[in-house]
Amino acid sequence: MRFVLKTNYHRDVDLFRDKFQFCWFAVLLVFVLSLPMFTGTYVESQLTLVFLWSIAGAGLMILVGYTGLISLGHAAFLSVGAYTHAILLDLGVPPFVSIPSAMLLCSVLGVVVSIAALRMTGIYLAIATLAFAMIVEKVVKNWSSVTGGNAGFKVAPPEIFGWELNSTAYYYLCLLVLTLVMLGVSNLLRAPTGRAFIAVRDSEISAQATGINLVKTKALAFAVSAALAGLAGTLLAYQWHYLFPDSFSMITSIKLLMLVIIGGLGSMSGVIFGAIFMTLLPDGIATVREWLPDSIGNLPGLEPFSFGLILILFLIFEPRGISGRWQKIRLFFSQFPLYRNRTFRRQKSFLRTERVH
């Protein structure tokens, strides 16, 4: 077992718990950096997708996992980000300008949606954001003079100072952006802004009593969340080469929400776990299809069915997601002979304050 003895306040503020944790992250980074050297282009492009979904997931995690506001419409922000970026590139705007402007537009839209969030929570907010996503989808489909409609919109290949990025270089670019996003979000969460998000999630009434402006905080959470989703959208546009309105359907929103729930609400590492899981899942399902008898294996609904089943199983057996399971496994090994089976057993509680969600 490892104990962390904090002898000054700086240890408490630091990003990494101790040197061990820092070393683990360094090893992980070196591993991910060296991966393209001994894997094929398929694995490389799958990993790039993991990074991109992680960025979008980080955005949604801020909203759902830390501010306690649900959104079933995050595909809309991906879509707005992707299309804005692609259209600006088409007009000859350099990516350094078009990416930030796409993010800015998304965060403005996020603030607009947050106005709905002020009076709604739970299922009502889910429906409101769903409606927003549908409006965006319809606009993208029908405004074909700008977006190309159902014919699709071709995205210019990624370029930095006239140098076109190949898939390996793009892998590194996405890794860099993901690392920066993760650092930024972790910083936010250990500073007053992030603490205000958490306060709003756990008790709106006492958040107000401690001087937190609910309107501003919710708007801020939506803005940050939408901007990150928009950023993921711009990078996805490069990855996909072609944009279609159907790439950002309701299913995409639901998959994103699944990503944060399966990863584990209220945990940034959960975002990465969730993104890996969601990217591997279609491949896994394709493999399983081959083993099954043809009558079942060829059913078209097998994939959505498996998604739904897995989500339900997670909600019943591991509501804290993969990251919660990971913590339990870690605790098991760190306390090896002494681990008690009931450590994480949920106890029945009756008082509102004793309820742990």
Partner: protein
Amino acid sequence: MFEVSGLSKHFGGVAAVDDVSFSVNEGETFSIMGPNGAGKTTVLNLISRFYDVDEGTVQFGGQDITRVRPHDIARVGIARTFQNIELFERETVLQNLLIAQYIHRQTNIFFDVLFLPRVRRQEVASRKVLEDIIDLLHLQRYREQYIHALPFGVRKLVELARALCLKPKLLLLDEPSSGLNPEETEDLSFWIEDINKELGITILMVEHDMNLIGQVSDRVLVLASGRCIALGTPTEVKDHPDVIAAYLGT
């Protein structure tokens, strides 16, 4: 220093608070008591602006706070605790207390994302500020524990600590002794006295426990069905015929 005059609040046809007036002097411990449904908590909610005042005014330190927005009440210098505890459940005790430093922050979201040296200095400084209050209420051993793992009595203390971390001039306590056993209530009475005498914070509390009221409060206001029926020292109030009638029925 603190003055409520002609305060009224109606919920539909029910007058929850009806023409209540009182004033609290600086450095005083002032209690509000009364039978169930007398409107005690409503008075606190009106003062902390969770409800809009129908009629009357609330003055604090020469300032009219009747129309101040609820999240600005903490900046004015009023902190409160809740009857059923409203803590941030999935955070540690330390994080719960740090939220109380939010109103004193000098940084904005852009500084926070980059975690500039200024943010680090501010975080360290906030922790130093909390230390006195953690010491005062003996919360050291719970510092890193999650709220949902703590017993009820400790949660009440953490909530009190969070209110104190706001550095208020006036502290509103909503039934501080509810759910506590007699020993914990005894400890609480000493802490309330310490907070009042040593930190010099004026206290306005809603309470049922007559012993606790007798030990700590200077004056007591008795409410019944939303109206004031008696005001005076604890001993005066206890023997007041209207108070006896309100509690025992006529």
